[in-house]
């Protein structure tokens, strides 16, 4: 093959080699992310699952690496864990619903009504809260929910007292934190909805939202809900800051890693949100919402 002239330096030669060998190109493109995905991501998840079946020695506190279903038996038999799981799922559902209800009109305005200029600014406005630290925002809500906070100051003249710290405060704070993750997919989804589709629906009848906008936007709603739902399900900081004495799955994991020093049990608890998410995704698939993507 010496007849092929390769002018230029090594860069040109490399470019030529990559041009002639597509699999080399692909390997160059994907090997680093694949390595990360398999080793760091899936590997960690596998380690988590494996650890969930180990135990700790009661006396030394050291991890005993022997297959054992004890952790899961305890999770199942102790009513408190079931309660905490249901509570966590309830909070995640509530946050998702609140975010969906707030985000939909906002995303619709951004995608369909606002001028292109206003659209850009609104996207920036939705994104900027993500620059601020999670803790700052959570503590800001703690101050607002406190006995002498803004919320009570507004509500007191009407004879109402704010909810104080607890699950409602947790839902409100989480809904605030994850709102951009619901708005952005919805905005992207609604932007893809052609205006002529709205015109056509108006031309043929008047049930535009239920029969046209909602079905077309549904995959985007699902995408957003996956964010808000999973982020809420794994959270343990917000509930510590504004949740009063409430415990969620995340707190159980955290306490078992730290105070109780029972890593295998923490791993077993951590599989609960994973399982819930898998069930959620399978259920979403069943609805056929993802067929129109």
């Amino acid at each position: 093959m010496s007849t092929i002239a390769t002018p230029g330096g090594p860069v040109r030669r490399l470019a030529g080699l990559l041009y002639r060998r597509p699999y080399l190109r692909l390997a160059g493109l994907l090997s680093a992310p694949l390595l990360w995905l398999v080793v760091a991501y899936l590997g960690a998840l596998a380690a988590l699952f494996a650890a969930a079946f180990w135990t700790t020695d009661v006396f030394t506190g050291e991890v005993v690496r022997q297959f054992n279903l004890g952790n899961f038996q305890e999770l199942w038999s102790q009513g408190v864990y079931r309660t905490i799981t249901l509570r966590s799922v309830g909070v995640a559902v509530a946050v998702t619903v609140v975010d969906g209800v707030i985000a939909f009109p906002m995303a619709f305005y951004m995608a369909k009504i606002a001028s292109p200029r206003a659209q850009r600014w609104l996207v920036i406005a939705v994104l900027t809260p993500l620059w601020a630290s999670y803790l700052v925002k959570a503590y800001a809500w703690r101050v607002m929910f406190s006995g002498t906070g803004v919320l009570n100051w507004v509500l007191d003249p009407f004879g109402i007292h704010g909810p104080g710290y607890g699950l409602p405060a947790t839902v409100v704070t989480l809904a605030y934190l994850w709102l951009p993750y619901m708005i952005l997919p919805l905005y992207a989804g609604l932007e893809r909805l052609p205006n002529s589709l709205l015109d056509a629906s108006g031309d043929l009848g008047a049930r535009t939202f239920r029969t046209v906008i909602w079905p077309v936007a549904f995959p985007a709603v699902i995408a957003g809900s996956i964010f808000t739902f999973s982020l809420s399900l794994g959270d343990y900081i917000t509930v510590k800051i504004v949740g009063g004495k409430s415990q969620l799955i995340g707190n159980v994991v955290y306490d078992n890693v730290g105070a109780a020093n029972n890593l295998p049990f923490a791993a077993a608890v951590a599989t609960i949100p994973v399982a819930v998410m898998v069930i959620y995704l399978v259920a979403v698939r069943r609805t056929g919402a993802l067929d129109n993507l």
């Binding site: 015109d199 108006g202 031309d203 043929l204 009848g205 077309v216």
Partner: protein, 354 residues
């Protein structure tokens, strides 16, 4: 300038527009449009983009509210009514089929909203699909159809509601040339079959001329001329119409004075011009001629286009059928001295400023 020679007794108007205006902020999109479209007519609104034709269509459909003026459907004033309370349906340029419904559900949609019984609904929808020659496609999703098929579904979806007037917004704009020509013939046939007034918007002058009974030519938010395709093509009411519908072939200024012996602006269609190489032959009675130099010869298979710079000033385009000549013969005429000859009745004075 509006020509309103449409008040024929016995023919009722399907659509009447009176003093229709629409402004978007500072921009006047539609400026004082009067128009009457007859029952059962295939009517074209022709104009370049931004001439206001689509805005007029959208005001008839009900997607836009006029700034002032009136829209009437039959005897009913519908200026401020929402789209679904008007007896019209629209076929959209991008078809606007609902992607999450199959073809049948798309076609049935309008009837379902109007609470037509399931059995009748199905029957009418299948009938509409038959009329656009799409039998057996009812179970498909729009994403599985070709452009031409989607176009037909959109047509069926509108026709199934039996509107008084069917509005078509650049209905063939998204199709390729071959399909477009087929659909032109088909649309015309479907219109004859269903007998509904078709009002369509296009920027393609050929489409407007071949398909419609009458044409309104739009320019800068106003109607320049309303007439049959032959009237608009052969007797353009303004220089704009002459240029937009067909090739602008104007004789004006000094050229008009020296060739025709009178001042003004005149238009002659390219195919009416005869190219002669014998400059001194006797001119037959009733014909005009102008000498010039061929600047360009464009061979186009069935015909050849000659661009001729006139000695008297100006430039004319002549279209000659390649009946006897071959490409070699005509191409040799580049830079040759020629004489353009035409019959006097084929030159038309164009009123108004140029």
């Amino acid at each position: 300038m509006n020509q309103m020679n449409t008040e024929e007794p016995g023919v009722s108007a399907a659509v009447t527009l009176r003093g229709l205006r629409k402004t978007f902020g500072e921009v006047t999109a539609v400026d004082d449009v009067d128009l009457e479209i007859r029952d059962g007519e295939f009517f074209a609104m022709l104009g370049p983009s931004g001439s206001g034709k689509t805005t007029v269509l959208r005001m008839i459909a009900g997607f836009e509210t006029p700034t002032s003026g009136e829209v009437r459907l039959g005897d009913r004033v519908v200026t401020k009514l929402p789209p679904f309370e008007r007896d019209v349906n629209t076929v959209f340029q991008d078809y606007a089929l609902f992607p999450h419904m199959n073809v049948l559900a798309n076609v049935e949609y309008g009837l379902k909203v109007k609470k037509v019984g399931k059995k009748e609904r199905r029957e009418r929808a299948l009938q509409a699909l038959r009329s656009v020659r799409l039998e057996g496609f009812d179970g498909r999703r729009p994403g599985q159809l070709s452009g031409g098929q989607r176009q037909r579904v959109a047509l069926a979806r509108a026709l199934v509601n039996r509107p008084k007037v069917l509005l078509l917004d650049e209905p063939l704009g998204a199709l390729d040339l071959k399909l477009r020509e087929e659909m032109q013939v088909e649309l015309k046939a479907i219109q004859r079959e269903v007998g509904i007034t078709f009002l369509f918007v296009t920027h393609d002058q050929e489409e407007a001329l071949t398909m419609s009974d009458r044409v309104a030519v739009f320019n800068a938010g106003r109607i320049e001329q309303v007439g049959t395709p032959a009237e608009v093509y052969e007797k353009p009411a303004s220089a704009f119409v002459a240029g937009f519908v067909g090739t602008s072939n104007l004789i004006e200024g000094e050229a008009a004075q020296s060739i025709l012996g009178r001042p003004g602006v005149y238009s002659v269609r390219p195919e009416k011009l005869r190219v002669e190489t014998d400059l001194d032959a006797k001119l037959p009675e009733g014909e005009h001629s102008a000498t010039g130099t061929v600047a360009e010869v464009v061979y186009a298979g069935a015909a050849t286009r000659f661009v001729v710079d006139l000695d008297a000033g100006g430039r004319l385009v002549a279209l000659q059928q390649n009946l006897q000549s071959s490409s070699m013969d005509v191409l040799k005429l580049r830079e040759a001295r020629v004489r353009l000859v035409w019959r006097r009745e084929h030159e038309f004075a164009i009123p108004g400023p140029t």
